[in-house]
């Protein structure tokens, strides 16, 4: 029975909760505008079914138990208070459900309380102890209240309250005790409800909102657009982030899954994606305390953290609530590079090379088609007639001696398959990927516009690129600048040719082979299967998967402009990956990316094992086999 005092208390609790939500909304609305779109389907899949949380089965199940153990009984109890009446059987079934879910919640909360804590293992996120204890108290007081109620009422076992009846066996049959427990239980629930928007439990709403707004308005491989017209482009202080970026900071519960998969963190660099999101949240709090004075992002996230990111998107892949820590780091990089000129000194010659010569090697367009000497590859100096594919060499494919071999191998495959194709030769420029990922957005846009103009002028409809970074930029980032052609990764193109039967690998490659998934094909563009399909089509190959493969693949350490930055902290990421490859006991590790190839080659050569595996390009394997 509800007294007026109870209603007063409940109203107060709900008011406090609402105030908290308004405060959350206000905090996010301080951000810059951004047009994010909502998606109900995502909400169903990732909030109710918790598909991403269940990627870790044990933790995921415990989370499910707590989630449903809170949501359903709370809803039922609230409904019951309105006295709308329901048939006895239904009420009994609901009672049984509440009883059972109480036990489930208890199990879940106990699991979370018993998990190891500390910074070494991600463990329980900071600030989760109080809510967990509160839930524990709610469950126990609930059962005690129910048990003592049944004990006071007397009578035998009741099927719709089995646990309550069991507690009744030991609970004192005192109406005073019952009343005390009911009051305590009720009060604890009110405290819980009121505290949801504050602290750890805010993720109930913030994370749900983040999932709802997670439908990307741009492909995953495309960086956030940035206005070059701003007085100082990029994000200097927390006030320069958009409301969606701030919402992500609120939604993070610092569960640590990002950090468990971050190559920079695992190799001992100061960067941790979890720390990035926590620092942003901390700065939001500081900003609120300082009455709107927005703290500088660099005060919370150090320069060495910012530059350590390889943009491999492992954190983005793992986050159960679709937080993207990489995106914040790129916003920061943009400010440091474009507005302060504070790009690490070792990468500045790269920018200069791109400005002057239009390629990352500083060799110049005059020498750009030299790789094709001796290949009968037709140059695209005229109009490209319908359907002819354009083979995009990329800077590495055009200038890096090792990767030139791969480009020539690709030409051999295309010629063997009698696929009509052209190359852009001297008209090709760097796609702009390293410039964009190092924060030099103006240079990226300049290169992209010139590339798009020359390709569109020639009437190109299909671009085949061996380098996944070029491919990703061409496919995902160029359309927003007006490109209308289709980009295909070379491996996928070869897989198609093999399927059609126009390329038939016949010479055996007798080797135990594994695949190293390049980040920009795999996680960023969800291309996993065609690599395996191509590898499996080679006669004699025994395919063996690495322990960390597909979406869990470990980065080589070369992406995101890291190819041009020094790696002075921690272990070499490429050496860690080489170690993993060596432990798999394979002879060959095939990849499909110039960075991966170079990084793995270096890492494997550095290994202290008698017969290290050899790294090779999948394209070369196919070309040697036909």
């Amino acid at each position: 029975m509800i007294t007026g005092f109870d209603i007063l208390l409940s109203t107060a609790a709900v008011l406090i909760m609402l105030t908290g939500f308004i405060r959350l909304a206000v905090r996010c609305h301080r951000g810059r505008p951004e047009g994010a779109q909502g998606n109900l389907g995502n909400l169903l899949r990732f909030l109710l079914a918790q598909a991403r949380i269940l990627k870790r089965p044990v933790r995921g199940l415990a989370h499910q138990m707590v989630f449903w153990g809170v949501v359903i009984p709370l809803a039922l109890v609230i409904y019951a208070q309105f006295g709308l009446g329901m048939p006895y059987t239904l009420a009994a079934i609901f009672s049984l459900l509440t009883d059972c879910l109480g036990a489930v919640l208890l199990a879940g909360v106990v699991f979370f309380l018993l998990r190891p804590r500390g910074s070494a293992s991600p463990g329980l996120p900071a600030g989760s102890l109080l809510p967990a204890l509160l839930l524990l108290f709610i469950v126990i007081s609930g059962f005690l209240a129910e048990g003592s109620r049944l004990a006071v009422a007397g009578g035998g076992p009741i099927w719709h309250s089995p646990l309550g009846w069991m507690v009744a066996l030991i609970a004192p049959a005192s109406p005073l005790f019952m009343q005390a427990m009911i009051r305590l239980h009720f009060l604890a629930v009110l405290v819980f409800v009121a505290s949801v928007p504050f602290g750890f439990m805010r993720h109930l709403v913030a994370a749900s909102m983040n999932i709802y707004y997670s439908r990307p308005e741009r492909p995953r491989g495309a960086m956030r657009p940035v206005s070059l017209q701003a007085a100082e482009p990029g994000a200097q202080s927390i006030g320069d982030l958009t409301w969606k970026q701030l919402l992500e900071a609120e939604a993070c519960v610092s569960c640590g899954r990002c950090q468990e998969n971050c190559p920079a963190y695992l190799s001992g660099k100061p960067l941790s994606p979890r720390k990035v999101m926590q620092a942003l949240w901390g700065q939001q709090n500081m900003r609120q305390a300082a009455k709107g004075q927005a703290p500088l992002l660099l005060d919370g996230i150090g320069a060495d953290e910012m530059w350590a990111c390889t943009t491999c998107q492992a954190c983005v892949e793992q986050c159960p609530v679709f937080i993207d820590p990489m995106d914040k780091l790129i916003s920061m990089r943009r400010f440091q590079t474009m507005s302060r000129g504070a790009l690490p000194a070792e990468a500045r010659p790269l920018i200069r090379n791109l400005e002057l010569y239009g390629d990352s090697y500083g060799k110049g367009p005059a020498l750009r088609e030299d790789w094709a000497m001796g290949c009968a590859a037709p140059r695209a100096y005229g109009q490209v007639d319908g359907g002819r594919a354009l083979l995009w060499a990329g800077c590495a494919g055009a200038f890096h001696p090792r990767y030139q071999q791969v480009t020539r191998a690709m030409v051999r495959i295309l010629q063997a398959a009698k696929v009509p194709f052209v190359i852009a030769g001297k008209e090709e420029l760097c796609c702009g990927d390293p410039a964009r990922r190092l924060g030099q957005e103006d240079l990226f846009q300049d290169l992209a516009r010139r590339n798009i103009e020359s390709l569109e002028k020639r009437g190109v409809t299909t671009v085949v690129a061996a380098c996944p970074h070029c491919f990703n930029t061409l496919r995902n980032e160029y359309p927003s600048l007006g490109a209308g052609f289709e980009a295909v990764p070379a491996v996928e193109f070869i897989a198609r040719l093999i399927n059609e039967g126009s390329v038939i690998p016949k010479y055996p490659v007798e080797a135990v082979l594994t695949i190293h998934d390049p980040c920009y094909l795999g996680r960023v563009n969800q291309i996993y299967d065609c690599l395996r399909q191509v590898a499996a089509s080679l006669p004699g190959v025994t395919l063996k998967e690495l322990a960390q493969s597909r979406e869990n693949a470990f980065c080589c350490g070369g992406g995101g402009g890291r190819m041009w930055l020094h790696e002075s902290q921690g272990r070499g990421i490429n050496k860690m990956r080489a170690q993993q490859v060596a432990e798999a006991g394979v002879e060959l590790v095939a990849t499909a990316c110039p960075y991966c190839l170079t990084m793995l080659e270096d890492g494997l050569n550095d290994l202290d094992v008698p017969k290290p595996p050899r790294s090779i390009e999948l394209i070369e394997l196919v070309a040697d086999s036909i």
Binding site: L228, A231, P233, M338, S339, R348, L356, G364, A366, M373
Partner: protein, 306 residues
Amino acid sequence: MNDQGHRVDQDGVRIVVCLKQVRHRYARTGRDPQENYLAPEDEVLLVNPHDEAALNLAVDLKQQIGSGEVLALTLGPIFAPDDLNRCLALGADAFYRVRGEQDQDTWGKSLTLAGAIRSLDAAIILCGLESLDNRNGQMGAFLAQHLGLPFICAIRKVSLGSGGTTARVQRGAGRGEQEVVVCPLPAVFSVDVGAAEMRLATVPGRRKARAMACQELTPTGPAPEPMLRALEVAPPLPRGKSKPAPDADMDWYQRVDELLSGSSVDKQARFLEGDPAKLARDIVEFLVERGILEPAPERSTEVVGQ
């Protein structure tokens, strides 16, 4: 010129930096002898890197003092606007273009520049140690001569002495040593690239540079007489084979195919047939015919024992 607004600050120093625009030819891939075998994509337009180093030094000095003015100056028509703009974005406060001819000799250019610089009333005049195209490294010395100022070449660092009437200059002194020279101001210095960090142009800097007005300077005095005159200009030698040796990664068929196709040098092949002894004779005959082997002297067929 001086009354157009750039008054020297009481304690600020006025630094003039001469920037030379350069057509840097990094490759020679053309096919036309008339064009000296140069294709349009073989050149990049940029500001001479030594001059950029001089500008960086000037900006550093200005930041070190906390006040002052960096005046960038170029001679002749502007043909590398993008890179010039990038350099101005590194921290120049004003930009002057000196009317004059580009195709004078260094003496003539230095006379023109000196006339313009005189009107700017600068305390320090900086130029690059040498230019990427001519590399004669005379400009600084000639300027100092015309202006009647002291000159120090190949400096790497500069700071102001006490009172601001002298400059302390650091320069390489050979054997890895660095020497520090004190020099009264005003003075002319030429700047070596050194090991200084490359400065990146920022987006706000570029915006400011684009908005910067280009102020024209017309040198006074008579048109300079050239001191040097080229007697003869020799065009580059004709290019050799247009194809390099075939790639060792290719298989034999591709290599032979490449050797036989598409070269500017006519190549012929003759297929030899017959038994090995005849083949060997034919090969020797073939090589002797072309003067690759000396004809064997007449001698008995006995093999001399070892």
